[in-house]
Amino acid sequence: MSWIALRMLVGDTAKYLGMIFGVAFSVLLITQQSSIFLGLLQRSAAAVVEVRDADIWVMDPRVQFIDGARGLPDTALQRVRGVPGVAWAAPHLRTTTTIATAGVELTAATLVGVDDASLAGLPAQLSHGTREALSAPGAVMLNGSGWTFLFKDRPFEPGLELELNDSRAVVVGLLDTSQTLSQQVQIYARYGTALSFAPGGRNRLSFVLAKAAPGEDPRAVAQRIQDVTGLKALSREEFRDATQRYIIFNTGIPQSFASVVTLGVVVGIVVVALTFSLFIRDNARQFGALRAIGVSGWQLAGMVMLQGAVVGVVGYAIGLGMATWLVETSAQNVLAFQGFFVPWQVAALSAAIVVLIIAWAGLGGLRRVLKLDPAAVFRG
């Protein structure tokens, strides 16, 4: 009976396409919006994740996420270095500044200061320049997308000068880093140089980065730092999670995306359930005739489930394809979407929601079909 079920389904072109559209649109909304949300969530903690040389972040006890740092006294660095199990500790500055340069409007940027000697805290991948170049007076490096944001298609020019808070900075390289949630442009400099760019204040040390000694568990060392210094110390993964949690629970971003995803689910259920219901109603006499002829309830249920499965699979494939194309194309062509992609978990979530939509619509249709009285076809 499966081929009859399929012919009944595809033969009613308008309803078939309507149901496919409902599922595809729903999958498109859910997948695209969820992927962008996860991309933003990843960005929020990118600055933590991409500091690979340190595995412990030390901060003021009240700090909740990376862009909410509060200055530490300079003595904090020495106190952390004195904790057993700490291989090394380095200062890390993270603050907001403004950039001015010829032909570019004033732009806010994140200024990151990394250890003067070891450059600990500097992302590992460079696309232009060398790490050593950062030793020059006033030397800074930009993130690649920050360069594009400022200078569009202009090729990288070593030695280009920037004005940071009335100080002269010279761009000596580009770093291959992810964008962050807060600013498009990130400027990296040695700690001492960065302090000269940053507005003055008594405590300007944002974080202390530390490395656990070989054989030591970073989480255990972080706990020890907390116990000894009274500062907050988290492993890289813990600080990444804390930052993402902050974004989830303290900004309206998840609610905004969740409302669109919910809309996608509702649209999917309403469009598919209504159309499927119409499809069953319009074919009620035919289904009734099939029951009279001797098609069993199980066979009819199988037909309806097959029809639902086909709508689900085709709609899902189209919706996922469109969403993937949209996200990938945006990531390649729009700076704000750079680095975004469709994770398999999102694809799986969309698939689960399609199953929910089809089950909702199919059960309604199935109930109607199974309640059909075979004798009704004789009653005209």
């Binding site: 009976m1 081929w3 009859i4 012919r7 009944m8 595809v10 033969g11 009613d12 074919n283 006499r285 035919q286 009734g288 005739a289 099939l290 029951r291 009279a292 002829i293 001797g294 098609v295 069993s296 309830g297 066979q299 009285d373 075979p374 004798a375 076809v377 004789f378 009653r379 005209g380």
Partner: protein
Amino acid sequence: MPMSATTPSAVVCRGLVKEFTDGSQTLQVLRGIDTTFAAGQLSLLVGPSGCGKTTLISIIAGTLSATQGEVCVFGQELTRMKRAELVRFRRQTVGFIFQQYNLLPTLTAAENACVALAAAGMARRPALERASDMLHRLGLGDHLGKLPSQLSGGQQQRVAIARALVHGPRLVVCDEPTAALDAKTGHTVMELLREAAVAQDRACIVVTHDNRIFDLADRIVHMEDGHVIDPPAGSGIGSAQ
């Protein structure tokens, strides 16, 4: 009184009562039907609207259960069958022809005609071959690939006949098969039905108001107010024509 499984009759009804309940009201549609339909005959079931013809044929075909009484079709007692057994009975023993044809609009004539075979589990290709043979016999060999919307009323009814007969049922039940057809086409359809459905070990029961086809019946059963009644004197109905 239990019925013998070896009765020569195709259909035996004994004390058949059917009541429909609507809220607190109970409507008795069949009021104790005792009748038989013989094998090898085309029987017409006639009577005014609301007399219980369709209810009786629905019970005989196994799509409706009786409130009281017994129905035996080719030795199978329907009133004692479970739901799954009734489905199997309908699939194997009964062919249905409806007033409105009830063809699946998105299936071709050949595909519609093989639905009963598909329901019985036959693969698509052999089912289509058998259905095509049946349509050839009914004069629709040139219309196998047409959709119902591309066929005339008479042609659609012939497809419905093919669908009803393709699996070789012993009992064919028809509900007003000529109601939507003109006189000539209706007569042609009934002749085809008689030729294809009536044989020594088979029977065909037709519910109809259409007195233009009375001449094709072997027996005419007259119903009124839920009873099978003796034919009115001089009416010319009630016996083999």
